[in-house]
Each structure stands twice: as C-alpha cells, then as structure tokens.
C-alpha cells in the first residue's frame, strides 16, 4: 500500500538527528515493548509481513507522530485484536508461549525466509529491468520511488517468501529475489545528487524486462 511507511524521497521531515552514545532504550517501556512484541510474535498467529502491514496501516497522522516502539505497540494491539487473542475463553498457558529458557534459542535461530523455487530465473545479472508501476491496496515491499524506473540486475538470491501474499494469509508464494541497482538520475531526474546509485531487493513479480 502507498501508506505512511513509504518514505523514500519524501520531504519535510527536517534534519536527521544523530545521537552520540545513545542508550539501547530511552525509557523502560521501550524495552518491555520490544520484548512483548517478540514474545507475542512467537505465538505464531501472524508473521513478520502481517506485522509490517499492521504498522503501515496505522493512520498517517498517528504513524508520523509516533516513535517506532509506539508504532510497534499500536500495531501489536491491532494484531491481538484481529486474531482475537484476548477474546473469549482460552487454554492457559498458550501451547507456544515462549519461555525464558527458550529465548536464546529462538533469537539465535531467527526465522529463515529463503525457499526453493523450481522455475528458472527470469532475470540475470546485467539485465535491464523496469520496476513495475503497481499500486496494490495491500502490503508490498516495492517502494513508490522506484516504480516505473529502469535499473540493472546486480545479483540473484534464489527464492524468498513473497510479502505481498504472506502478509494477507495467502501462503508463502516464494519468488526469486534480485538486487536491482538504479542510477540516482533514473530515480530523481535532474534533482539527483551526483554520483549516486540506489539498490532495492525486488521479488521477480515486481520487475519486467526494460
């Protein structure tokens, strides 16, 4: 969706404010928000793509007025509500409740998103491709600022779970993933900074031959 998360090339947000010796958390609740989000995610009711879509579905005024941990908490509340985790009667504890003992293993293993894809790659390093001009109402990871523009395939990474499907309960639908490099002038025209290239990682269905 062309939501508030799609920030590449947007203007008006002011300077970047580097922080020297920044603490990991700026308030105790931020730490709890992190832990709560990860522990609730471990229950398996949603995946990372559904989480991201819940965050970007916040009203733009809320999204831009919130710190990132606030965005996480508001989205977590939406996910809990959508999946009715606090509704009705339920067995306790949840069969997949994360224990403290399981934390190191869970964080250390992570979640792997690579999946085999049997069909041959449509594109190869060096190919010129155009990012398709799509405007899906649901989740996508193709940012607006590259759509319609031509770049070059730099690498092919094999198959990965497609967020556009996975975020909406439509399965993993894996596709090959490519790193695509765009000249700054291709993206931004005469207003590009000189000597700039920008790459994205794009699923095969995001691209067409140029």
């Amino acid at each position: 969706m062309n939501g508030p998360q799609d920030l590449g090339g947007a203007m008006g947000f002011g300077p970047v404010r580097p922080e020297v010796d920044a603490p990991v958390f700026h308030a105790p609740w931020e730490a709890r928000a992190l832990g709560l989000t990860l522990a609730a995610g471990a229950l398996g009711h949603w995946n990372i793509d559904e989480s991201r879509h819940a965050r970007e579905s916040l009203p733009p005024a809320t999204y831009y007025a919130s710190t990132y941990y606030e965005i996480w908490i508001r989205a977590l509340e939406a996910l809990i509500d959508r999946h009715a985790l606090l509704a009705g009667e339920a067995p306790a504890p949840h069969p997949r409740r994360l224990s403290a003992a399981a934390v190191p293993g869970a964080l250390g293993a992570g979640t792997h998103y690579a999946r085999p894809v049997a069909t041959p790659a449509r594109f190869h390093p060096g190919d010129r491709v155009r990012a398709r001009n799509i405007h899906p109402r649901g989740h996508t990871r193709l940012p607006r600022y590259v759509r319609g523009h031509v770049g070059t395939i730099e690498a092919e990474h094999g198959g990965f779970i497609l967020p556009d499907a996975h975020a909406h309960g439509l399965g993993e639908a894996p596709e090959r993933l490519y790193t695509v490099v765009f000249a700054g002038a291709a993206l931004w025209g005469p207003d590009a900074e000189p000597g700039l290239t920008v790459s994205i990682d794009a699923w095969e269905s995001y691209l067409e031959p140029a």
């Binding site: 947000f13 306790a92 994360l98 250390g108 993206l187 990682d201």
Partner: protein
C-alpha cells in the same frame, strides 16, 4: 529521571501505562511469560550490539581469507564468529572502497542487522533518515559530520527484503601494526551503517 519515583511527581507516561497494561493482559491469559520478556531485553541490552559487528570488521581487516568469505557468504562467515539469528538470517557484507561509499537504510520500516549491530538507533528509524537517505545521502552524511570527496560514489542499499546489510568500512591509515581487538575499538556503529567512518587511532604523542 531525577529519582526513582516519577509517579509521585509527574503524570504517568501514557505509553508506559499502555504497554504495562498490555503485558498484564497477555500474561494473565498465558500468552506471554514476563521472564521471557526479561530475557529478550537482556539479550539486546547486554549481549547483542555493535561490538559484534566491530569484531567482524576488524577480522575482515586482518584476515584476507575471512574477508573473502564475508564477500562470498556473509551469513556463514559471520555465524562462524557466533553472531546469527533474528534479523540477521540473510546477511550481505558491502565493502567501502576509495571509489564507493556504502550507506544502508530501510525506507519502508527499519530493517537492520540485529545480530551484528543490535537494535537500531532512533535516527535510523526516523522519517527524516528513511526519506532522505535515498535522495540526498550527501546532505544526510553532512549532518553526521561526514563530507565525502565529490569523486566518491555513494551506493545506498534500501533493505526492502530480508537481506540485511553490514558495511565494511575501509581500514584507517596509521593502523598497520594494530591487532584485531584494538582495531575493533575504532569501528563505530555509524561506520557499519555508512553514516560514519572508523575512528583514527590516537597518536602516541596525544
């Protein structure tokens, strides 16, 4: 905070209250275990942070075979040092050179290589950084005090998928005799995102 009892003097932080209530509800339903939350917090507050990435960089500077492995298969090379897992499942190392400076951003959220850098700083997650890094990275770098020569190309990596990027900065001059541990102390978090470069070693006379 000036003391331990802010609730006596200040109104409660609405987000703190909201998170506390949510944790209580999820705990009461048997959905989360507060001890697991403690363990997660402890992991990122104390164990996993940019010192991991700095060790990777310093080893790449001192061990050509490791550097080559990093280029070829960053996930495996980094895992060999014990850094792996959530938000680092699919790693790519990108090497600065005299010709090209690399900069990492996630315009769509705040993807970041946790096992090597820990949790992202506030500025990395800010709309200002996410919006501007891809269109005016030189202006952004200037706000970090980094002015690259105009002939240096800037390559921005927008982390739009599950690949996570670690910038391997150039080894500073004047570090020829230094070992990996001392070198790692020069490697800042910003240098591994691309908004900075490593510190230079203090002169002996200084």
């Amino acid at each position: 905070m000036p003391h331990d009892h802010p609730h006596h003097d200040a109104p409660p932080d609405p987000m703190a209250e909201r998170v506390r209530r949510l944790e209580e509800q999820l705990t009461a339903r048997g959905l989360v275990d507060p001890a697991a939350i403690d363990a997660i917090i402890e992991t990122y507050a104390e164990k996993v942070g940019p010192r991991n990435g700095a060790a990777v960089v310093a080893r790449a500077w001192t061990d050509p075979d490791f550097a080559e492995w990093l280029r070829r298969d960053a996930t495996a090379a980094i895992a060999s040092m014990g850094y792996a897992g959530r938000q680092g499942e699919h790693m790519q190392a990108v090497f600065n050179s005299p010709e090209t400076h690399n900069l990492v951003v996630c315009t769509l959220c705040s993807c970041y290589p946790w096992p090597v850098l820990g949790l992202p700083p506030v500025w990395y997650k800010s709309p200002a950084y996410r919006s501007r890094a891809v269109i005016e990275p030189r202006a952004v770098l200037a706000e970090f005090g980094l002015d690259l020569p105009p002939e240096v190309q800037i390559r921005v990596w927008d982390s739009t998928a599950e690949l996570r990027y670690l910038v391997i900065p150039m080894r500073p001059s004047g570090t020829e005799g230094m070992g990996a541990e001392d070198l790692a102390a020069l490697v800042t978090r910003e240098a591994m995102i691309g908004t900075g470069v490593p510190k230079t070693p203090e002169r002996e006379s200084a």
